[in-house]
Subunit: 405 residues, 4 copies
């Protein structure tokens, strides 16, 4: 590691302006060997990956590589977001928060494999991502130095473009109206209106536009909390060995309904409030459907503690604390609750919304044979309930008798 000739730097590379600048800057100004790496967490199409590769070729990099960690991302994170029905502030499925962490972990592993002495990312100094990257790198490889040109130099967009042009990279760097971030677990949309408190994102800001208006029946099949099957319309039921495929298929069905859009207002790691739009059709349907299945199959306190721990899992993940060992403990807890969370969930898709129609499960605790809510039954008598309320009232009866007004 003390090899002074080691000037390898691994750069987390997305092909955008900021990371393109970084690649060129590190190679040219710092004389480093730049290993650009793009990490796919399910959001890049083959076409997009080809474009990123082409961009990398234009720049002064030694090597460019795509690391696909979609399956790992599902297995080590998204799965638990489903088990925990996790929506930050009851709203946001943590689309970006989660994947950024896995990108950082993949970059760190690659850096260690390569034996590079430096690692670089293109975050600015005003968001959550810088903290997530820095934390992951420091904890996993404290001996590697982190370089963040964009944060350090605070260049304007124009200055970056000028620099790249001056170096012969004449791409069309026109700024998109919105900053879009796509992954397996949803797409975030930031810019313009999200910088205000009072404006919603306009229809056209969302990547998926409304294309379907006829309601569609979809059945989700869960096995121990994981989405393993889908059936829709008149199609034959599909079974998926890999839940990633089921998520992608469901998204394909639901995105044309413009389902799962919302705006999240949250507390960033650095203490300011942040507002971001998102669309996440499949994640929202899966979470609501899974949650409904759990209402039928788990006890009251199982649901309570899942909510508590799920809430924290989301918060710590959001704040870049994925490497706290308590996260592993929570994952164990959540996984252990899923034994009985199997069955079908019936969903109806409508433009801009969906309805959970109901569920069917061998583990359904709302059992006809035991007694229905609101209907008399043979399992207990009126006297049993009288005794129940009598004892249940004891503590408060005593309290109010002792502390009379």
């Amino acid at each position: 590691m003390t090899d002074t000739s080691n000037n390898k730097v691994v750069l987390a590379f997305s092909g955008g302006l900021d990371t393109s600048y970084c690649a060129q800057y590190l190679a040219q100004e710092k004389g480093m060997e730049v290993y650009a790496v793009a990490v796919n967490t399910g959001g890049f199409s083959d076409e997009e990956l080809k474009q990123i590769a082409q961009r990398a070729e234009q720049l002064n990099v030694v090597d460019f590589k795509v690391l696909d960690c979609t399956n790992q991302y599902y297995e080590e994170c998204v799965k638990y977001l489903i088990f925990g029905n996790i929506l930050r502030n009851q709203t946001y499925p943590l689309s970006v928060s989660a994947e950024r962490m896995f990108q950082a972990l993949a970059v760190a592993n690659y850096t260690q494999e390569l034996g590079a002495k430096y690692v670089a990312h293109g975050s600015t100094g005003a968001g959550n991502d810088q903290v997530r990257f820095d934390l992951a790198f420091q904890i996993i490889m404290p001996e590697v130095e982190i370089i963040t040109p964009i944060r350090d130099l605070q260049l304007s967009r124009e200055a970056e473009i000028d620099y790249l042009k001056a170096n012969g990279i004449h791409d069309d760097w026109e700024k998109a109206a919105y900053s879009i971030n796509q992954g397996l677990w949803g797409t975030s949309v930031g810019g313009k209106e999200t910088l205000t408190s009072h404006q919603p994102l306009p229809e056209e800001a969302y990547p998926s536009q409304l294309q379907q208006t006829e309601p569609l029946q979809v059945t989700l099949v869960f096995a121990q909390g994981e989405l393993k099957g889908l059936q829709w319309g008149n199609e034959a039921a599909q079974t998926y060995h890999n839940p990633v495929d089921a998520i992608n298929q469901l998204n394909k069905l639901a995105a044309p309904y413009a389902i799962g859009r919302d705006v999240h207002v949250g507390d960033t790691i650095i203490g300011i409030k942040g507002r971001v739009g998102f669309e996440a059709a499949a994640p929202l349907i899966i979470i609501k459907g899974h949650h409904t299945l759990e209402k039928h199959t788990l006890t009251k306190w199982q649901q309570y503690w899942k909510e508590q721990l799920g809430n924290w899992y989301g918060m710590l993940l959001h704040e870049g604390q994925y490497l706290d060992p308590v996260m592993r403990n929570i994952e164990h807890f959540l996984a252990d609750t899923q034994t009985t969370v199997s069955g079908q969930v019936f969903v109806q898709l409508h433009p801009y919304r969906f309805e959970i129609a109901g569920i069917a499960s061998d583990h359904d605790l709302m059992q006809a044979k035991f007694g229905h809510y609101g209907e008399m039954n043979r399992e207990w008598s009126g006297d049993d309930v009288k005794g129940f309320t009598k004892i249940l009232g004891n503590a408060h009866k005593i309290y109010h008798s002792v502390n009379k007004v």
Copy 2:
């Protein structure tokens, strides 16, 4: 109280078959003086109250009275449901759970005023309401005996009708397809499909039908957490001294959009799972709007603890534990958090759904002058964030260094 000639019984009376049976039965078979009382928590129209009074007149009751506790219900309960953004299981605004408690309290107070030795309610032995009534009566007036003819006799509907007819009460007792329960804070709909796990309620089961399809802009004005103003379409802004009026007005605007419908699956006090439909247009819009305003005006831990305590307030209220003194402590907490929760919330109504467009508040913590999420700023430097993440990473850096794989 030991006056043996005291055979007064106060009967919680709704004018339905069960409580009509109780009135007649208690008077005729038990020789009691029946004081029938209907408690209005905002769900009865004048017309409905007149009908209930007429029904009471037909029966063998000494007196019939309507107690209107809508304002008290708002002040001592609904207000806190808003402060706490309380939705049971992230879904149900506790429409019935809350009002049943206040009906029980009103009946108990009236029973004590009257010096009656008995109190009666028409609950069956299979639901939550019996527990709520019994608990409230036992705690507030342990010396009064509770009579529950329906629970004790377990008569069929037909037997009740026959009995009433035999006593000259020939009303049309035809059973409604659904059991509907209406109050200030929403309407519940139970029966048929809600007794299954897999079927949704059909469109026609809901009292409010879709009548509006043109989107409508509505502005909600909150003052310290309470809804004090409304503005919609091209109408002039309205200010309300009494938030009850604002809630009713908002419901009038939103119900024709068929907003706020859902099905709640929950754990009853008696341990079985229960499923019930509801429509609650105003409650859901108010809670979501209020919640969004809080995301902008409260700190992270204020939001966290409000959620914790609000969740429990809802659970204990649902389970008839309103008289636990911890409920008063929680109310104090929630009220104390509302100091800065003032401002406007912009909402758009659509058929079956609504969108929160944004907010405006003098207490908005998402301040342009301090620094925006995702944009560089002058309040801190990149080095500050580097120092931040360095220290923030300490604990995990140590953990992973000590516990190397």
Copy 3:
């Protein structure tokens, strides 16, 4: 099961007056075949078990059996009480609450094996134990009828003695001054002073009396949260395959110091307050020692969530809810946190008290090589901490700037 000739009843038998009465009563008055069973959770000596057997022989029972479930009790419960550092109300190690549940489970299993139609216990109607027994029996074997003669008949002690004497059982039934309950995880002491709010138990009420006054050094060796070794005074270090043996040995060392005595005031399942004395030398030393080891080896949030879940594990166990599946989920969580909880804990025993001197562990996070509290170090600079506090202060800086007085 519908065999009408099946009149077998399994009786949870302790050899005391109440259960002796039950045995005789069920056989003689009800004509049942009584299978008496004593369940040992670590509190009975061989001598005591012999006495119980002799008592059973005098009575009209078909069979008497001792079920030793000490190891199962440790593996399925006590272990988690240690992992969770569980003290009810920060005080009581749940000595009786825990073992009563395991006695009920053992009796239920035996009843099922035997195919008996009835099960009986000798609890009164005023305590927690009746609820624990009833719950376990109803849940595990809802088809078996529960018989509780003492609770039903409400006989006086004298009436019970008279009945037994009339049937030729002339034992000395003199009432002990205190009701003592002994098990692996502590001994409870109830009666006289514990029925008041203001009096402590006198010295002589405690089974173990002060016999040692010379301080003694003891080292506890934990392996993944379990007590696997002890060393004391000048003795050679002992390793235990079975932690039950280590617990018993530690108790033998510490009880003569009269360590671990206290009075617990708690909320019973039936809503009244209960007060009970206890002595639990080994449990308290183990819990405090284990907790100290965790302070050195777990992260802040691991400790936080262990405390939350441990607290509930204790509460639900205390209230007879051991069979809620959330308990299994919590056990998984707690076990998963123990991976790094290995090392030595140094303790000093004194009359009536003990001190935790310190710990040694390969997983100790208080690492000299990283930097010591209060001493400058090389891992971070003053500027890093400045940046840290600057960012850490952001949220409140904004709040106070927006909400100026």
Copy 4:
């Protein structure tokens, strides 16, 4: 504020080596007008304050002032530590954590009154105090610059002494074996053994030595959670208008018993583990006594939520987050729970330990007239409890029937 001639600096001054160095350094090297200020939170005797003043006079300061904020500290913080029974990690009464915050607040107020442009403190870069000071200053007066010579210069102790001597300040700067920090709510003791994980502090490290061996009976009188009276031995009962006086008196009684010593191992704000000894006789007796009184006078869920919120109040206070508005909300909650927490607590002092003998309160919920734990009573029947357990078992009965092995 932009007055460039304003070179006033307020220095938090304790009279020790570090802050003496700061005073001289800021005046001489930086040419500043140094306003030294010592903040008393109940730990300084008149004698000690005189010595600090003398030290200040020797140095090159413009002014020296003592701010006594003991009463404010009690009213705005210690009171809530009692209401919440707050012991960090079940051990440490937050002696230093709490007072450091109040010292920072007092210094900030003074700085603002004075219109000074700078504020200075003598913390190093390795502890919690720097964060507490920095946070308070930044939030309350973001326009004031913070100067921290010790943290920035990283001088050795010897270098500081040499500098002071070279400037004619020839005091005896010999280093004390332990760093002692005394306040109303306890004394911390750090150094030597506390830098290891395995060693306890020796007897002589503690400021108070054992002087009493005869047991002493003390009665604490609480009024709505506050200590308002004391009675001990044969002395007449004392009533205190100001609880600060009661705390001081109790400490005078208990310190000679060497009560309230322990070692706290905790997570510092900067992520490393810290270990510190303390003695806090009065705080521990008050907290344990108050807690016992609450066990008798509060409902189960009041106790539960007090523990939750108290725990967080302690954690946030410890971490310098006292200015989060959630702290005010929690204070409101805690204060609201104290309505019924009035009565006497009986305590016995012994060498190195104390026992809570019992309590007496008009609000005691352990009422003889209602029914005693373990004794039959007239308020409910055995059948009531049977009904209770039947209904209570419903949920698990269903679960185990649906999910049979």
